[in-house]
Each structure stands twice: as C-alpha cells, then as structure tokens.
Symmetry: C2
Subunit: 134 residues, 2 copies
C-alpha cells in the first residue's frame, strides 16, 4: 500500500540558521521559505536526489509544531510522509486494522496541495506518519 | 555534499510486531530480521521505491539504542542517513565548520558494510545524522 517516502519533516527552532546549515555545511539544494498559514508553519524544502527534507518552523500562535519545539528546544524529526495512491482506501484499511487516524479522519489538503492524513504515533512505534495521496 | 537519503531508522520495542505492521497494515516490502552484533542491533529493512526504512531493535546489553527505548518506550525515529561520496572529505568539511562527529571521529563499517559516521544531534536541529559513503 505505501509507496515512496515523500519527505522527512524536521522541526527547527531557527529556520534561517537551519537552511544555511543545509545549504552551506551539508551542501544540499535548499529552497526559499514558504509560509503555509493554513498549516501554521513556514517550510523550507531541501531537495535530495531521491526524496525531500522539509524544515518546519512555527507560524502563528496556534502552530501545531509549537508544542513539539517546547518539548524539543533543539528541534527534531517531526514526522515522515509516505505516498499512497488512494487515501480513502488507505484510511479505511488502516481503521479496519485498528489504527487511529488523527483529527476528523477526513483528508485535508496538505502543504503540497494534495490530500493528507496523519496516523497516531502511538499506533506506529512512536512515529508520526503522514499519508499523502499522489 | 550530501546525496540520497539512504534510510530512516526507527527504533521499535517489538520488532516482530513492527515488521508485521509494516507488511500487513501498511503493505510494504519487509525483509527478514538480521542480527548485527557489531552494532548491537537487530535490523529489519523495509524497501520503499525510493529509499529504505530500517527498524532497529536492541541486541545485547550494550545496545546503543537501549537508552533511546528507555526514554521512548513506544519507539521513535532514531536517525536519518545521508549518502556522501567521500566520507573523510565530508568529515573534514563538517569539522572545519564546527560540527561535532561522534565517537573517535574515524569512520566505522556500518550495517551495510560501508564506512559511516554519526554527527552530534545538538549541532543539527536535534537530529541524529548518519553519513554513509557509497
């Protein structure tokens, strides 16, 4: 069911410093910051040859990664995203097998303009998993 | 400098259950467990179309992921691995820029039989980064 690893998301306390580090110290291809007000984050995409890293920084007071950074002030890996072909079929299969889908259970439009869902980390080895329909 | 994302490593409390979940619930291609006594882990590789997930379980009393699982009993993302062409050149570049390399600073032979180094998570947004020469 799951396909490619679409991205690894890393929450960072200082987006400018983290972007500069990936560009200069690690020598990666780093994009410009993009505000995603609907998701409460500013995102920087790092293009690797086979997948992406997304650096996430809080945008606004209700940012979903604010609590994560309070607990992990240096930052940390926030989630991984797997691609699926049919997000509703994936959701139903997961729910049938007892996995919990976060929020309403209905897909939202994610930062890439595609339908996404998040799965409960307690059901997946402490790993927050995003599913994105591609 | 960094190339492909070689893998994402997830430490899991129950390797059999996690393998079954990736195979059956998430429908991924899951390999057989491999003991890596030199690294203190048993590993299960999950092949995605563009990269790998490595499920890690402690092997032996001195396993380097035992402390991580004590702190994160449900498991969690342990590290990410970026490929580099020349690990000594990468190390020297990183050290020149003030990043700390863990251990002796000399590459060891990793779980894939290739030279690896780990970078200090405090220097990289709370993310433990493995570099693997390919």
């Amino acid at each position: 069911m799951i396909g490619r690893l679409n991205h690894v998301a890393i929450a960072v306390p200082d987006l400018e410093a983290a972007s500069a580090q990936y560009a200069e110290t690690l020598g990666a291809k780093v994009g410009a910051p993009q505000d995603e007000p609907d998701h409460g984050v500013t995102v920087v995409f790092i293009e690797l040859p086979n997948t992406k890293i997304e650096l996430l920084s809080p945008l606004g007071e209700a940012s979903p990664i604010k609590g994560f950074l309070d607990k992990n002030p240096s930052g940390g890996i926030h989630h991984i995203c797997y691609e699926v072909e049919d997000i509703l079929a994936a959701r139903d299969r997961l729910k049938d097998q007892g996995a919990r889908v976060l929020g309403s259970g209905e897909p939202k439009i994610g930062a890439h303009g595609k339908p996404v869902l998040f799965l409960h980390p307690k059901d997946f080895n402490g790993t927050l998993i995003e599913l994105e329909q591609v």
